[in-house]
Symmetry: C2
Subunit: 318 residues, 2 copies
Amino acid sequence: MILGLDIGGANTKAASSDGAYVESIYLPLWKHAPLTERLSELAVRNNPRAVAVVMTGELADCFSTKLEGVLSIKAAVESSFSCPVYFWGVRGFSWDDPLELAAANWSASASLVAQDFGQGLFTDMGSTTTDLIPVTGHPLAGRTDLQRLMRGELIYTGMLRTSLGALLPEVMIKGCKVPTSPKFFAITADAYLALGEIQPSDYTCDAPDGGGKDLTSALRRLARTVCADLEELGEDGAIEISKQAKARQIYLLKRGIEWLCSAYDLDRVIAAGIGEGLLADATQTLGLDCILISARYGRKLSSVFPAYAVARLLEPKL
Amino acid sequence: MILGLDIGGANTKAASSDGAYVESIYLPLWKHAPLTERLSELAVRNNPRAVAVVMTGELADCFSTKLEGVLSIKAAVESSFSCPVYFWGVRGFSWDDPLELAAANWSASASLVAQDFGQGLFTDMGSTTTDLIPVTGHPLAGRTDLQRLMRGELIYTGMLRTSLGALLPEVMIKGCKVPTSPKFFAITADAYLALGEIQPSDYTCDAPDGGGKDLTSALRRLARTVCADLEELGEDGAIEISKQAKARQIYLLKRGIEWLCSAYDLDRVIAAGIGEGLLADATQTLGLDCILISARYGRKLSSVFPAYAVARLLEPKL
């Protein structure tokens, strides 16, 4: 087996190059999750003949610099596997500077998309962020997160972990405009749970209050964004907030897709990630074609696409 | 001594009615800080003949409802002091429903302001929130946080704990617009530390990464709001972000003050809290008079004004 790993700040994702094995483990690095232990378990369980790695976890605030983060994650992987380990950077498997490995997971995905689909805007909406990468034969994007933020290729909005206080500075409730609290009271996972678009088992991150992932707990958190009790705001009010969170995310995606498709003259979107459906909604309103990664590889691989992509990219090199 | 207490979600503040004793203790209730133990120590140390209490901590997300929060905080105070304890609600020391005690600290402050200063817009900018209360003989304001958010009487922005990702959805860096991460990477305390407007000893809350309160640590956190290393963004970039955070807060305060002074025909602002200076800056741009609570009672009492106010209000009743 060739094992692909995508080590993020919150989740470590794993997939084999044949797509038969897929796993996502909640491993919050900023809480000092035991990365080496979990990777060693993966090594024993799968016994791969080679490992291909991408990462984004170096930005976690347990590391004072990205270089420290990259080197720490690299060391954790190398000490966990006895087989050869290959790291993918923004220029591929060859790199000179460890900083080329920082936040390069989108680049592996986009390279596989270029190979398997050809031209289009590759989009991947995960729990925390969304990548929008123009693919015109090869991927075109900034090389650091900062550059990609500036160019509209990284939208810091996700299906689960985005703080509602940041996503929605104000909400409309029963026709009144209400500013929200900027505190970490509720997240997009609460909104999508309230709307029935995800199930409690999809709520794979911690809840902001450390509480339950049932509907009532989510509604309480949603009410807290306007400093209210659920009893005070009512379920209708919490649902109203959730709908506005979804609408705001679709607007952000739509604006980003429109800008990049127009700038690079692309007429179709290739969508991956747990937010595939939202990306499809946003694309539809623009009258562009949308190809779902899940339609070709299945939902599970779509949700860990960078891990699968980097394993696939390593295969012909061995 | 008559002891006044203001029990918030993050800080518990104490002052005596004669103003000789002032204390602020960082006691994050959502992290299950030992409230009863600390209050019992206060009781032994000060041996008050009566205690007057206001609270806002019932919104902390360790409580599933405000009622649960009010009753829990009330029980903690009552078990810590052997002298009589009086709770101030939105209608004063008499109340029928425990929910009247929820988030009523502004009401004690505004009642004392009405008595000591007469008409004006009372404003109090603390670590987390800002109250704007029209005082026309008596305080006029909504009775719940939700009502006050809707009426512009509660602005959820503060000198220390406001997340920069929520305050600034995007920033300008060297002439380019950069969206920020909505994650809890940096707070206003980092911005004011970077600008030299607060000292490390004023940084009385936890840092978002649990790290240091020195200048370099703050600059690193500021850089992380645009997914950058400090080395990548540069100190200038972090300072640019800080200046925009300050400008945004002054804008929010100015807009709120202008609206309420115009709605209630008030021509002066009475400013309290650790954000007095920012309130004065905002007021100045509007051409209104600004009276500082610190000029009358000193800086220490200004920063714990609701605790002092509720103690003062109890004095004539004993």
